[in-house]
Subunit: 224 residues, 2 copies
DNA sequence: GATCAACAAATGGTATTCCATTACTCTAAA
DNA sequence: TTTAGAGTAATGGAATACCATTTGTTGATC
């Protein structure tokens, strides 16, 4: 039942394994990623590991320097700011197009994801809610029906997932998603676009508040 | 003098070779890319060829299906439309940020690229002018000082280069670049953004006109 | 004549091996 | 004690070999 799909490539499995390890914090930013070690650890040869590292490099999760070991990408505040700026143009575009172009079955998928998100946010199931929120975004991008946009979003997906760990006002996010859904459903591109912009702005504000809270907590701890 | 840099990776050289072959039309869209053949043709083993195909897959120039041969990506009208839509949000963003953040030495680079473009457009040097126009865009993206934006633009650079082959009103492009440069120089983000949007729109119109002209020509030829 | 099955050829995925380059360490000299 | 340098270990890049999967073709059957 839970047996792995033999058709999936080893390199993809290694990539998934490594990606989760990095995003779950098992591998520290800046730490070495040595092909031979990873290969031995995962039980494959170096070739699929190389391929996997290439993929993660494309996603921006690892830094692949020529002729020396790769390292886990260190995300800085500047990286987060860059991501926010890009989202501020791509998310409105995605939701505008989704509103203008969605078909009935696609809208239904969006609705289901939204319901999952609301329900899990209501009962404070952080992991499921985060996942559903990510699904909501992803489905909206699909509805936009622009393959290049989907590809670009795919390359920043891991970064996004990483940035989401930074804050967690799930109910607030779910509420904004409700408004976004309604704009898409009503085929109101302008409203969807504006809401998406606001959504990014509010997530930026929330992250800042979160960072301040963490810093205050740290200061308090030091003081004691 | 023109001796190759031995420090550059073999895979990068293969990628450059293949990329140029595809963009120059030496390899037809849809044609097979067989690792063994490419390796023999370029005189290396399959390994760097595999790596190169991975890179070009990331750039959207080749389609890499699992367990069977890769093919040269076939660009459709839909692909061009997708590219235009993405440019309509990323280009304004890039020029707005470039206007707001540029430093003196960066602006100087932009000015030099612009002068090259104007001069070569004046004497109808198509190749140099296209190259300079591409440089102008690329430098502007650098001035925007957003690493993620640079990366995303990098992934669509090959597509852009491909789409540029479709039209060639060089002087018109150069004129619009002059206006863009002035907005950037004046640190007028709003104007730069609006001009960039118009710039994309006019390039879309021009391509359409070009396509219509080509089709009319074809019809005339058939009629004779 | 069309269709499907089986076999053969071709192809990409992976493992193994070797090599050039890089990073580390230890020693000796200032 | 610090620093420069040589020697050594470690690492990624590339070549080669082998295997599983896919594709193309041929022939038999309906």
């Amino acid at each position: 039942m839970s047996r792995v799909d033999e058709r999936e490539l080893e390199s993809s499995r290694v990539a998934t394994w490594l990606r989760d390890a990095i995003l779950d914090g098992v591998r520290d930013p800046g730490s070495k990623l040595i092909e031979r070690d990873l290969a031995a650890e995962f039980g494959v040869s170096r070739v699929p590991v190389r391929d996997a590292l290439k993929m993660l490099d494309g996603e921006g999760l690892v830094e692949l320097r020529p002729r020396t070991w790769a390292i886990v990408r260190e995300f800085t505040a500047a990286d987060l700011a860059d991501l926010d700026e890009v989202r501020q143009v791509l998310d409105p575009m995605a939701f505008r197009l989704a509103a203008e172009r969605h078909r009935r079955d696609g809208l239904e998928l969006l609705r289901v994801a939204l319901e999952n998100e609301q329900e899990s946010a209501r009962v404070d199931n952080i992991l499921v809610s985060r996942r559903a929120a990510a699904d909501f975004h992803e489905i909206a991008v699909q509805l936009a029906d622009n393959q290049l946009l989907s590809d670009l979003m795919g390359t920043i997906r891991s970064r996004l997932r990483w940035s989401l760990v930074q804050h967690d006002d799930l109910k607030h996010i779910a509420d904004e998603h409700v408004a976004l859904y309604e704009a898409v459903r009503d085929r109101d591109g302008d409203r969807a676009s504006a809401l998406a912009f606001d959504h990014v702005e509010s997530s930026i504000r929330e992250r800042l508040a979160h960072a301040v809270a963490v810093r205050a907590e740290a200061t308090r701890t030091v003081a004691n």
